[in-house]
């Protein structure tokens, strides 16, 4: 029962252009005046990995929620892509665009009473930038050369070259680097199990597989925030158990992507559903380096044999959007030459290929992975393709995916709002992250073009070109777009913003 | 029989009916006898003749018809609770196999004390004292040390002595000993029989001694009842019976015993065939199929249990033996 969700969103933190398309809130408008007190229990999808960037490597979907409660960023980013000051007051780029000077907030201290100052920021960033430390996602912040202390409350980020996504690098909640931990905790090497930051809540205890508790920070610098006495984060990998805990009252709010729960919650007047769409997609990778999937006709045939609609209907009960491109609606590319379900066409393409096609797919050993596999198996069978299913534990699936030991494998594209860098990593011929081993000079050209061009319209065109080529060449299959769901009791307020699946407990309060 | 005041147990037409795979059977069929206080009755017969079932019927452990009058009370009318009180208090029981009839996980002291504490409501100390006396009385050396023993730590003979001590725990008026020596060595058998008759005399108990061996009971019984296929076929005072065995079965049973006072390598006069199956009893005399002198009537009609003359020696045989004295 090690959930397939284990890995759901475990990728390196990225560079994002902050464009959020939707943040739909169903339910009545929150009353103005938050109430203080109470304990909020949050049902998480996964057990926490840890909070030291060097040890945990990346933020899982559950970890994001905790770290956001305990630690803070220099800036938040609003829906329009503007920086919103948090621990910093302002950020000014140099004229040449190769450095940013950032003024820090004064009078803030960490939970362990270490004062927050330039040293805290510099030591944290320098630690991640130091090649010796082998910070796993260092390449994602590679354009940053160094971080300097200017004075006690001013730091300067020196860049190797002008870098547009720098603002994302300072604020994206998927990234470990943005959260400033206590320098003392780093020095004492306790950070991984005991996160210490400046945030509204202080870490209290972490009982593995059971709960992680945080309590209100009485000295929080932002008065009027942190309404709750404490928050309990409870990892519950079993989807049904998580929803049951909400229904029977052990949880107040849960993360979920289980269609049945969402559909059921819609009927339940005591529950509210919050959703947030973003870039990325669930997908099925083809290993294009080996026959028969090295032949585009076969891949195209499979794309026509595949019925994403059916998957979304049967598996997700229609709670996920259909994905035709990896942009989650943030960029409008039309139909992107998406290959519709068309068995006749698929058969024709296969006939052209001429040889019998037998394939194997790796999927997670979860009900969800199994179901997707079984649907695909049946659909492929209809066009005469035999699909063998191999259920694997998450770690196994990852290993085989990374090692290229697969023909088809269930996969996910991470939830970025700016998909350019990720696409480049995943699809460039020479990229280490190109797990499907896809080689196409035309694709390479498009990917380089989208990186170099600064004109937004041209850039969008290039990205749409990539999306179109993905479909034309059938590089992989889509398994639904990314949409985060959070279900909460009606009494839980102030959690309307769930971008990237994060329940921002600093704003949350209970109206019981 | 001697006066009514001496009468302890009076059984009339006792019948036990049981369900078996072969249908309804009657392992005890219209058994009638009585027993005076302080007297010994031996019930003798082959295995399967209904001896043990008769004992259980007297104890009320199997459903039975007919009347059992014990000590003036009609036991058949007594409730299960009262029967429970009579069992163990007024009637003591010794079973055949001392290896299996003692609880292996209880000390012998506890097993002996249990009926005292249940029936006589003695305190722990009183019952301990009494147990010590009893152990001495049944001839167990070093009773103090043996109290804490478990049955497996004792030899077969010692265990049977313990079993007797249990039976005597509440000073019963009647002791039923169901083949108390069959599982024992000849040497021990003699001791146990001696012990039983000594205790019976000392305590003025009545004793029902069940055995398959006429020889074993000869020395201790006042009366002997011979059972065959669920019925008493001969009943009489030991002396009279041994003097004149009338029923041919009794005679055959007696003759089949190998005897140490007989000459060497004598061919034993055995009884041919097997005792009948209860589910397929022969018509008429039940022994007739194995009887050398059976006549036509034997196969037709069951002989009544009668006496030749007015004496107490009863037998059920159409063609009784002439009545020569047995023995040398």
């Amino acid at each position: 029962m090690n959930s397939g969700l284990y890995r759901k969103l475990r990728w390196f933190a990225g560079l994002c252009m902050a464009v959020v398309l939707t943040s739909v809130v169903q339910g009545e408008c929150a009353p103005a005046k938050p109430k203080t007190g109470g304990t909020l229990t949050v049902g998480m999808e996964l057990e926490f990995r840890g909070f030291d960037p060097l040890k945990a490597n990346f933020l899982g979907i559950a970890d994001r929620n905790v770290i956001m409660a305990v630690e803070e960023r220099l800036f938040d980013m609003d829906a329009k892509g503007n920086l919103v000051p948090e621990l910093a007051l302002s950020a000014k780029p140099a004229k040449d665009g190769k450095s940013w000077t950032i003024k820090l907030r004064k009078g803030v201290s960490f939970h362990d009473n270490t004062p927050f100052n330039a040293d805290a920021v510099v030591s944290h960033w320098q630690r991640l930038l130091d090649p010796k430390n082998r910070y796993f996602a260092r390449y994602a912040i590679e354009p940053i050369d160094t971080v300097q202390k200017v004075d006690e409350f001013t730091v300067r980020f020196l860049l190797k070259h002008p870098w547009a996504p720098f603002k994302n690098a300072l604020s994206a909640p998927q990234s470990f680097a943005v959260f400033i931990p206590s320098p003392k905790a780093i020095k004492e090497d306790t950070l991984n199990r005991v996160p210490i930051g400046t945030g509204p809540y202080m870490f209290k205890e972490w009982l593995p597989n059971d709960r992680l508790t945080v309590v209100r920070n009485p000295n929080y610098w932002r008065k009027g925030k942190a309404h709750l006495d404490s928050v309990i984060f409870r990892p519950m990998p079993d989807m049904q158990a998580r929803f049951a805990s909400l229904q029977s009252g052990e949880s107040d709010v849960i993360q979920t992507d289980r269609g049945a729960s969402i559909v059921q919650a819609r009927e339940d007047r005591s529950l509210r559903i919050y959703t947030s769409d973003t870039g990325g997609a669930y997908n099925f990778l083809f290993n294009t380096s080996r026959p028969p999937l090295d032949d585009a006709r076969v891949r195209q045939a499979l794309a026509h044999a595949w019925n994403q609609d059916l998957l979304l209907k049967a598996d997700y009960k229609g709670t996920l959007p259909l994905a035709k491109d990896p942009f989650g609606g943030l960029i409008n590319c039309g139909d992107s030459a998406y290959r519709q379900y068309d068995p006749a066409k698929a058969r024709k393409l296969l006939a052209e290929y001429g040889k019998p096609v037998e394939l194997e797919m790796n999927h997670t050993n979860t009900p969800r992975g199994k179901e997707a596999g079984e649907i695909m198996q049946r659909l492929f069978k209809e066009v005469g393709v035999t699909l063998k299913l191999t259920p694997l534990a998450e770690a196994q699936l990852s290993k085989r995916g990374i090692g290229g030991e697969f023909q088809i494998t269930g996969w996910k594209m991470m939830d970025f709002e700016e998909m350019g860098p990720l696409l480049k990593g995943n699809l460039s011929s020479d990229s280490k992250l190109n797990f499907g081993k896809y080689q196409n000079p035309k694709m390479d050209a498009l990917l380089i073009k989208q990186e170099m061009i600064s004109d937004p319209k041209e850039r969008q065109k290039a990205l749409c070109g990539v999306a179109k080529l993905i479909n034309e060449d059938a590089v992989f299959l889509y398994g639904g777009g990314r949409r985060f769901h959070v279900i909460a009791k009606a009494g839980v307020k102030g959690i309307d913003n769930i971008r990237h699946g994060v329940i921002r407990v600093s704003d949350a309060w209970l109206d019981k | 029989m001697s006066g009514a005041d001496g009468l302890l147990l009076d059984i009339r037409d006792l019948t036990v009916e049981l369900r078996s795979p072969g249908g309804l059977i009657q392992p005890v069929d219209k058994v009638t006898f009585s027993l005076d206080r302080g007297k010994t009755l031996a019930v003798v017969g082959e295995s399967g003749s209904g001896k043990s079932m008769l004992c259980r019927a007297i104890l009320g452990l199997v459903p039975s018809r007919g009347s059992i009058v014990f000590n003036g009370h009609e036991a058949g009318r007594l409730s299960a609770g009262v029967m429970n009180r009579i069992r163990g208090r007024d009637i003591g029981v010794v079973l055949q196999n001392p290896l299996s009839s003692l609880n292996p996980v209880m000390t012998i002291a506890r097993q002996i004390m249990e009926p005292m504490r249940c029936h006589l409501k003695l305190s722990k100390r009183e019952s301990r004292e009494k147990t010590l006396n009893l152990l001495g009385a049944v001839g167990i050396p070093q009773p103090h040390e043996r109290m804490a023993c478990y049955p497996h730590q004792l030899s077969g003979g010692m265990r049977q002595r313990v079993a007797i001590a249990i039976a005597l725990a509440c000073d019963p008026q009647l002791l039923i000993a169901d083949e108390p020596t069959t599982a024992l060595d000849v040497t021990v058998q003699a001791e146990i029989l001696g012990l039983l008759s000594r205790l019976q005399r000392e305590r003025n108990m009545a004793l029902i001694l069940v055995s398959h061996d006429l020889g074993v009971v000869a020395g201790v019984a006042d009366d002997i009842a011979v059972m065959y296929a669920g019925r008493i076929v001969e009943l009489g005072p030991t002396g009279a019976l041994f003097a004149r065995m009338r029923m041919r079965y009794t005679r055959a049973l007696f003759d089949a015993i190998p005897r140490i006072d007989e000459p060497l390598q004598r061919r034993l006069p055995d009884i041919p065939g097997q005792p009948p199956d209860f589910s397929a009893l022969p018509v008429g005399c039940r022994f007739a199929p194995r009887c050398a002198s059976a006549g036509e009537i034997c196969h037709r009609e069951y002989p009544p249990l009668t006496a030749d003359n007015a004496d107490r020696h009863l037998f059920a045989c159409w063609f009784p033996c002439a009545g020569t004295e047995v023995g040398r």
Binding site: M1, P237, Q396, S398 | -
Partner: protein
Amino acid sequence: MVFGRAATVVWKKLLHLLLVVLAVTLLTFVMTDRLPADIAAEISGRGATAADLAEVRERLGLNRPVLIRYASWLGDVCLGRLGNSLATELPVKESLRSHLPVTLELLFLSQLFALLLALPAGIITAWRAGSRLDRLTGTFAFACASLPNYVLAMGMVMLFSLKFKLLPATGYTPLSAGLAANLKGFLLPALAIALVEWVILMRVLRTDLIATLKEDYILLARCKGVPAWRILLVHALRPSLFTFITVLGMQTASLIGGAVIIETIFALPGIGRLLVNAIFAQDYPLIQGTVLLITLAYVLINFLVDLCYGLLDPRLRKVADNG
């Protein structure tokens, strides 16, 4: 000489148990090594490259041969060190310490419920074997035994938690938060296990008790005029408990690491889930530590069962009797 023999018996037993522990842990090492999963991939995440994985493996010492890793692990265990989890870097001891109470409480409560059901039912059905009550109990027991505990758990959650909202559907409340809350959380999972397990306990008890009730010493007890309840509880029960204790021991031992599904359905942080997660992640130190714990528990329970035999039957107290 007698003492010498007793000592030999104890030594032999201990040697046997030590051998079991060693064999189980070695087997675990070898088998988990054959798992196609990779802790390096787990640690590195999906974006990792083959070089990253190799680097992580090097760092964790996963490149060494299995037997060498086993030997060094064994050496550490002898020194009382179980190491840290590779995935979380949490000391394995701490993980076990935090998960064990849940498993122990679940185990204790489920076996308690099972006993509470099995003992009276076994005794009554044996006493009244063949009666209508016996057949009714038997049928009910069979119905229980034929239901998988996961189905039972699902059904009970739907009924008691979601419909009537009597009991929590998930989660574990530490004892520190109050006994009532703690017990409430364990009620359903313990029942789900107990309702299936009591049946086999009851059946072996009934069978053995029926056999015991046919013994001569029970007949003698009846002849002694001992009341029925005393015959059952004092005379017959104790000698009839052997298979019962054995089965109870085996069930208990298998529950320590084996209640995964129940723990998952009720989101209980028990040893079973810890182990499965560790296996899926191929987190060697954690797997080894957990298996060591489970094996030790098995060995301990076996030892206790052996001890119980001696308590139940004086004939088996080999050592003490030889004065």
